[in-house]
């Protein structure tokens, strides 16, 4: 987005790096928020439920993006943090009778600590090796959840059933619609926080570590601290998503959190648009709707179609959907300016 002539270099730099939003961006965001808030009014409860899942996965994708897209640490293990958040919410609601809104910060805190702790030994691992370590984490998660000695809390293989919350203050909104609004507001909050984090000094340090870790550390960035913290924050986001997801689905069981979930979040991140915050929303859309699209195309071998769609996305939109939109918009603007 080019700034109007006459603005100083500082403003231009701020706009270019995303530290400040241009007027067009603010309008775009406002429009998106309005659309998002009004969706439940036009669609059935079932669609609202699906859109709630889009929001949930968008938050999870943003979590992964913070780690992989903005910090360059490869993770195939985010299903573990999602599961941790989900079970935190389930145990709090089912065993301790705590209200659903408190489960979100609790899940976030638990995952922040867990992520940070995992990030510490992960410091020694690069690229492939980190991928394997996180891969191992997500494979091990269902087994740990089924472990007999934890059965008192986790419900073992049976899982835990959760009751969906009603709208507060006796408002005449269906449970599905209320949960959607709640999740949507949480998403806006979290996205704002992420944007804030990533545009300041911390964000620059995080991105510098991704781009050139040696130079970053030569410039005085405490790479070890930042990398572990980023792991923690990334886990926090994914954990909150897990808690919201558990409330939406109303059920948690070990087999809901397999390695395939990690893959799904990864796919959502890359196709949505890596290293971008709006891309996370497209990531959520991809995770919820592409498998259904594939099934509509072919009943016989839907996952083959899914795989083909993934490959096609990578051919034609290598920067993800958001990258594609941005490029398209930029091209459109250039053409309008030229004419």
């Amino acid at each position: 987005m080019s700034a109007p002539a006459g603005t100083n270099m500082r403003d231009q730099a701020a706009l270019a790096s995303g530290a400040r939003l241009s007027n067009q961006q603010i309008v775009g965001i406002a429009a998106a928020v309005l659309v998002g808030l009004s969706l439940p009014l036009f669609v059935s409860d079932y669609r609202t439920f699906q859109f709630t899942l889009v929001v949930v996965y968008a938050i999870a994708v943003l979590g992964l993006n913070i780690l992989t897209g903005f910090n360059g640490q490869f993770s195939l293990g985010h299903s573990a943090f999602y599961a941790l958040g989900a079970y935190t919410a389930a145990i709090m609601m089912d065993q301790w009778g705590i209200a659903y809104y408190w489960t979100l910060p609790a899940a976030g805190m638990v995952c922040l600590v867990a992520g940070f702790l995992f990030g510490l030994p992960a410091l020694r691992l690069e690229g492939l090796y980190l991928a394997l370590a996180t891969f191992a984490l997500s494979i091990a998660t269902p087994q740990i959840l089924k472990y007999d000695h934890f059965e008192k809390w986790t419900g073992g293989v049976q899982g835990v059933v959760i009751t969906k919350p009603d709208a507060p203050f006796g408002l005449e909104i269906s449970q599905d619609n209320w949960l959607y609004y709640f999740a949507f507001v949480v998403m806006i909050l979290l996205f704002f926080c992420a944007w804030n984090l990533l545009r300041g000094r911390t964000g620059r340090a995080i991105k510098a570590i991704r781009d050139n870790p040696i130079a970053a550390s030569a410039m005085g960035v405490n790479t070890a601290l930042y990398k572990s913290l980023t792991f923690g924050v990334s886990a926090l986001y994914t954990g909150v998503a897990g808690a919201l997801g558990a409330i939406a689905i109303q059920f948690v069981a070990p087999d809901s959190f397999t390695f395939f979930l990690s893959v799904a979040i990864l796919v959502g991140m890359v196709i949505g648009g890596i290293g971008s915050i709006p891309g996370a929303i497209f990531g959520g859309i991809v995770i919820v709707f592409i498998p259904n699209l594939a099934e509509n195309i072919s009943k016989a071998a839907p996952w083959a179609v899914y795989g083909a769609l993934l490959i096609l996305f990578m051919y034609f939109m290598p920067l993800g959907i958001w990258g594609f939109i941005r490029m398209g918009y930029a091209r459109l603007m250039r053409r309008l300016k030229a004419s």
Binding site: L128, Y129, L132, Q143, Y306, G307
Partner: protein
């Protein structure tokens, strides 16, 4: 003692399969600098092709050879047609393509051959060697085949000009091109060879676990783990890593009480991560030094 021996030999037999998979992984890595997540599914698909050939009456060793050739060609084609468009973009884009390949092969196999288990013949005789109950002839055969393939790979990379060219192309494509190496075809060759090795792994493991579309999933994981444990830059190390993973998994499950069979998977992986934390490039890998 009997328990220990049986678990160890069973672990070695499986370790052989993991080692074979690890070799395929190393092959792809040496050739392309990337891990192919679809390796397991491609190996499974090759095994189904072998199954079809055997059902049509082709004798075992001809099927073995034919399947390796078909897999080689298939691997080359997959690289040239499907993977090439995303080569050089970003690692993650390539990973997504690999994931796509994974689901395509898995889904196609299930569609064509259904999901019921199919017995797959072993080329080795049924009677245990020396009449013992610890290790079947097939298990020994797997270990033997793995070592043969390992020697082949080692010799190929070390002593043939093509092998050298492949390694050069993977490590520094730009310089390799300057020297006249057709980098694109080196990559394709790497894929073809990895596919052939994977086919061997599949045909070795199917008699033990029965052929079905989901048979290679965890084997690929253990193959990765073995390759990284041993050092992904070193084929012999990867094979060692594969055997180690196989034996370790069984022994831990058998002898460590509170882990047992319930957590042995997690434990084995934790152990590998612990090793990697202390020796990040694996037991036998060489350390890559990054210069500014």
């Amino acid at each position: 003692m009997e328990l220990f021996l049986q678990q160890t030999f069973s672990g070695l037999a499986f370790g052989g399969v993991y080692a074979c998979m690890a070799l395929a992984v190393v092959m792809i890595y040496q050739a392309t600098d990337h891990l192919n997540f679809a390796q397991g599914e491609m190996a499974m698909f090759s095994t189904y092709i072998a199954f079809t050939l055997i059902t049509l009456g082709v004798p075992y060793w001809w099927t073995f050879l034919l399947t390796m050739v078909i897999s080689f060609v298939g691997g080359v084609l997959v690289e040239r047609i499907i993977v090439r468009p995303v080569e050089g973009t970003s690692v993650l884009n390539e990973v997504i393509v690999f994931i796509g390949l994974l689901t395509i092969f898995n889904s196609l196999a299930g569609w064509i051959w259904e999901y019921t288990i199919k017995p797959f013949p072993s080329p080795f005789p049924e009677e245990p060697v020396f009449g013992n109950k610890f290790v079947s002839t097939h298990d020994l055969g797997v270990i033997g085949v793995t070592l043969v393939v390992l020697s082949g790979v080692f010799l190929f990379f070390r002593f043939t000009p093509v092998g050298l060219a492949m390694r050069a192309a993977a490590q520094d494509p730009a310089s390799a091109r300057l020297v006249g190496i057709r980098v694109g075809w080196m990559l394709a060759l790497g894929w073809g060879l990895a596919a052939a090795i994977g086919a061997v792994a599949g045909m070795m493991v199917a008699p033990i676990v029965f052929l079905e579309p989901n048979m290679m999933g965890s084997i690929l994981l253990y193959g990765f783990a073995g390759a990284l444990l041993g050092g992904i830059t070193n084929p012999a190390g990867a094979v060692f890593g594969g055997f180690t993973v196989g034996v370790l998994e069984n022994l831990v499950g058998a002898y460590v009480p509170f882990i047992g069979s319930e957590l042995k998977l997690s434990f084995a992986l934790v152990l590998i991560i612990a090793v990697l934390v202390f020796r990040p490039s694996g037991l036998f890998g060489y350390v890559v030094v990054k210069r500014v």
